[in-house]
Amino acid sequence: MKEQNSIPASKVARSAKFVGTGFKIGGNYIKHYSKKLFNPELTKDELNEDNAADIYSSLSELKGSALKVAQMLSMDKNILPKAYVDKFSLSQYSAPPLSGPLILQTFKKHFGKTPDKIFDKFDLKSTNAASIGQVHKAELNGEKLAVKIQYPGVGNSISSDLKLIKPFAFRLLGMSEKELNIYMNEVEERLVEETDYELEVVNSLKISKACANLPHIVFPTYYKELSGPRIITMSWIEGQHLKEFLATNPSQELKNKIGQALWDFYNFQQHELRAVHADPHPGNFLITPDGNLGIIDFGCIKTLPDDFYYPFFSTTSSDLLDNKEETIKAFRALEMVLPKDNPQQVEFYYEAYKEMITLFAQPYMSGEFDFSQTGFFDSLYGFGEKIAKMPEFKQARGVKHFIYVNRTNFGLYNILNELGAKVKTDTYKPHLKLEF
């Protein structure tokens, strides 16, 4: 891969990058429509592909939080055309690496020594990008290690990055800036947390300990003394990413096993720990040669407060959903139904959200669910598209916690779908409250 040669760091330079992208996209449209003049059959697929490529290359050059947003956008397959999704999915695996001297400099600053004095072996070429940093292979006392290094100034540039992303975001999502703000703030908060490598080590140790008894899941060992504000050292987990794993044509049995491990990992966290690894993009998982699931990134942890947890997860049970009065109360608690809504609106949103939740909760309703069936996903996306066109949903609704919880669960569903796994869904069930 080509090494990253320039990182536009100041806001001006970053803005320039986006302006450049804008121009290119404009160009793509001109190209598209002039071609269409001669060939009316031309679909928008090529245009979408050109646009996605340009947006991706500008995002990946920006690195840091912009790349993170690219990853997030790619999670929401239902919102973006397929071409965007394919291109954005790239960002889930790799971004161009940083220069060798900067890596040495980072080590010297935190440990007073260069990496070759700390480790027996240290590979100056990174193996892959970790969205706000990159991963290097190292070895110490015969153990293989993964060393994650963060780019300087990432924390500082997050808010200015998000401001730049905003116009793109509300054009893509069709929201107004004001509505977008509560959600953007939530995203900013998580992203800032994600740049805190010391917090990540604490989280990793905590969650990997709490989940130690879950079957078929492995975590790396974290080395606190070899970690710092911008460096994390952990043991190296050998394994394949989802796409590589699927390319080996694994048996249905093995796919189910991995899928089950994923399901258990997420639902144990959501319902027992009430704090969840909210970043289920394929780059954070590895399938080990002995058929276990390795979990390698704990940057993004979303805690679920009770006043969100109970109303939200209780609606996934038909016990509550059959009781219209209590369901509306739960919707009010989640700000899906707002105080200023008139009775017709209450009725409308009740019906719409009930339909959505019934769909979303389908895997929970029976003890087992086959995620390979595309019918479920088609109706999910179909519903998403329908909603996107309804004027009633022009205005954003729902408390801010939805962003990461939806992202987590849709992400999980998507991965299980890609995996084509059939899983037992009653292993860790939501705790319910039937009155609000």
Partner: protein, 215 residues
């Protein structure tokens, strides 16, 4: 017997506590208990001490980066980056002196007298880098301009120095960013760019546009 190192240290000590140069060599020697002629054995004037202190910083940095195992495997760009990072790491230990000294730099386009020998050292160092870059094709060879390449690195270094003096971020993280970005920009410009195609095209037109047009 006053060694060169002792005189340098005494001098730094003096300027940092007094905020200015000693009045005379005689007073300086007396205060630090050595003979005046010992001073002249090593230095011609106080200015030459300043010159020497800076030159030492450059020499030390070059020695350090070259002693790193990875040095031989680096590209020209990485070598330059490595020099910049190590140089500003080293400057940290002398930040007060650097502050004092740069305040006394003469304004203008001329190289400050204090950096005269440092510049020669740096140019020699950059020359090797550029040669390497030209050989590997990392840097484009441009008639007349190639000789000026080392100046662009020097200007970059002076720019980062100014930036660093005003950098109040924790651990000088912003300086790290400035280096990564600045050095990369310099090397991107030295690399074959659209500029080269424009120059080539211009040359072609100049040589071949022997035809007359009516407009």
């Amino acid at each position: 017997m006053a060694t060169k190192q002792k005189i340098q240290n005494d001098y730094i000590n003096h300027v940092l506590t007094e905020g200015k140069k000693p009045v005379t060599v005689f007073a300086f020697a007396k205060k630090n208990k050595f003979q005046e002629d010992e001073f002249y054995k090593h230095f011609g004037s106080f200015d030459s001490i300043d010159c020497e202190i800076w030159a030492d910083l450059f020499k030390e940095t070059i020695k350090e980066v070259k002693s790193q195992e990875v040095w031989e495997t680096y590209s020209a760009r990485e070598k330059a980056l490595s020099f910049f990072y190590s140089f500003f790491e080293l400057l940290k230990s002398k930040r007060s002196y650097v502050n004092y000294s740069t305040e006394n730099f003469k304004k203008g386009f001329q190289t400050p007298m204090q950096l005269k020998s440092s510049k020669n050292i740096f140019e020699e160092f950059s020359h090797d880098l550029i040669e390497q870059g030209l050989e590997t094709g990392e840097i484009a060879d441009r008639k007349f301009l190639t000789d000026k390449y080392k100046d662009s690195l020097w200007i970059q270094l002076m720019f980062v120095l100014k930036f660093w003096l005003k950098d109040y971020s924790a651990n000088f993280e912003k300086t790290d960013e400035a280096i990564e970005r600045g050095v990369n920009v310099t090397f991107d410009l030295l690399h074959t760019t659209p500029l080269d195609s424009i120059l080539e095209y211009g040359k072609f037109l100049f040589q071949n546009a022997g035809f007359k047009t009516n407009f």
